[in-house]
């Protein structure tokens, strides 16, 4: 097993783990943090933490991907608590991420009216959804990311978030409804 080899000191096994999971972890961090720079730093922190605690992984308690996601989620929550004050003071003029060519959210919304082509339109829709996702509360956001973006099943999400499955479903429903209302509001402003 890859983890056992890594714990035994096999550097190649560790590199394989990094290659396998870096995309998933980076995406979770990016969707949760909302910023590419933060996502890169957080992903690195996740792997450092994972590397240090790899020996504590118990395969009988769950899948490795669930363990990795739990570490990621805990670190993201810690990061959110640390930067909570900064988030409160964010405005619509703040650039949400490096993937959006540093355009403020207000300009992105205004640009929705006249997309040059379908590819640009798709990209702008994604950025608007990303911005709306960032406005959700962290509880709803993490549930949506794990379910709709990472395709975890409810039981796995319940394990990661340490809440009952019913709570997971409820958060997912509330999150989706809230996101739809935010998107509706965004397009209504543009129109």
């Amino acid at each position: 097993m890859l983890v056992r080899r890594c714990v035994a000191g096999d550097a190649a096994a560790w590199e394989e783990i990094v290659q396998t999971y870096n995309r998933r972890i980076y995406n979770i961090c990016y969707r949760f943090a909302g910023s590419a720079d933060d996502a890169q730093d957080l992903a690195q922190e996740v792997f450092i933490k994972m590397y240090r605690t790899l020996a504590s992984y118990d395969s009988s308690k769950g899948a490795f991907v669930t363990w990795v996601t739990t570490i990621t989620r805990n670190l993201l929550v810690d990061h959110f608590r640390k930067t909570k004050q900064d988030r409160i003071t964010d405005s619509l003029d703040a650039a949400t991420s490096a993937h959006e060519d540093a355009l403020p959210l207000s300009e992105q919304i205004q640009d929705q009216s006249a997309p040059p082509d379908a590819r640009v339109r798709s990209r702008e829709v994604q950025e608007a959804v990303h911005a709306a996702l960032a406005k959700l509360s962290p509880e709803l956001r993490e549930a949506l990311i794990l379910r709709d973006l990472q395709d975890f099943d409810y039981r796995e999400i319940a394990t990661v978030l340490k809440v009952p499955e019913g709570t997971v479903k409820s958060r997912i429903n509330r999150g989706r409804a809230e996101l739809a209302r935010l998107m509706q509001r965004t397009y209504r402003q543009v129109m």
Partner: protein, 265 residues
């Protein structure tokens, strides 16, 4: 179907796992309920918005950075393992290397704290104060360098110090005995030299009186009892009254009772 039940089946309906009569009842409630119908539409819209989101590409240097961060830690860890796996010169050397590795790991955060400017200033001040105190006490580093740490030398120093302390207390005892003898002599000689002048030594003694007792002099006029009788006109000696009185032998003088009170100062 109740709204609570509808809410519980919302995710299953969107995932397409509802079948049969349960799906029919769900759809019927969705059409009839003014709250649950729009909610179902919103949840479905939100889900479809999120499905539009595609994965983003991680930065090109992410894997390299992660491996650099972690293999940096790995190098240290493997360094200890490699040194343990190498043929050992002796178990003491291997143990010493292990202790060194542990100490370097344990002391690293302490050393990092100590290197802060405020701690450096504190240590500098402490060193300066210590050096000043040692120079004032006459301790020289050159003397410390000459101290021999051989067991025989240490034992010799111990006995010398012990003998010096014993001699010191013996000398102190002798001094006290001489002082006591001189004091006794003075006490025996002093009354013969000054038989009449008792007041003068008393006055001197008050200076060294540590008994915290009030002076006798202060109580001189206030030490009499309240019922003590004082004659208003006592035969103190020959006076004008003696000449005027017809019968000086039996004057039959009136007695006046005087009450005195202690003056509080």
């Amino acid at each position: 179907m109740q709204c609570v039940e509808f809410d519980g089946l919302l995710t299953d309906a969107l995932d397409g796992v509802l079948t049969g009569g349960q799906l029919d009842r769900f759809q019927a409630h969705s059409r009839s309920c003014s709250v649950c119908g729009p909610l179902f539409a919103e949840v479905g819209a939100g889900r479809s918005w999120l499905k539009d989101l595609t994965e983003v590409e991680p930065p090109a240097g992410l894997v390299t950075n992660i491996l650099a961060c972690t293999t940096g830690v790995d190098t240290q860890r493997l360094g200890v393992n490699v040194s343990a796996a190498q043929p050992r010169i002796s178990w003491i050397a291997a143990r010493w290397e292990g202790v060194q590795a542990w100490a370097s790991g344990a002391m690293l955060p302490i050393w990092g704290t100590v290197r802060q400017p405020r701690f450096a200033m504190s240590f500098g001040m402490a060193f300066f104060s210590l050096s000043v105190a040692l120079s004032v006490l006459g301790v020289k580093p050159a003397d410390l360098r000459q101290i021999s740490l051989r067991p025989t030398a240490i034992r010799h120093t111990y006995y010398n110090t012990q003998a010096r302390v014993v001699r010191y207390y013996d000398n102190i005892k002798l001094v006290y005995e001489v002082q006591a003898a001189v004091r006794e002599l003075k006490r025996n000689v002093a009354p013969a030299e000054r038989p009449a002048g008792e007041a003068a030594p008393d006055k001197k003694d008050h200076k060294n009186d540590t008994t915290q007792q009030p002076e006798q002099k202060q109580d001189r006029n206030y030490s009499q009892n309240e019922g003590h009788l004082i004659l208003a006109c006592a035969p103190l000696g020959p006076s004008v009254f003696d000449q005027l009185s017809p019968d000086p032998v039996n004057p039959d003088l009136p007695v006046v009772s005087v009450t005195t009170y202690r003056r509080l100062v």
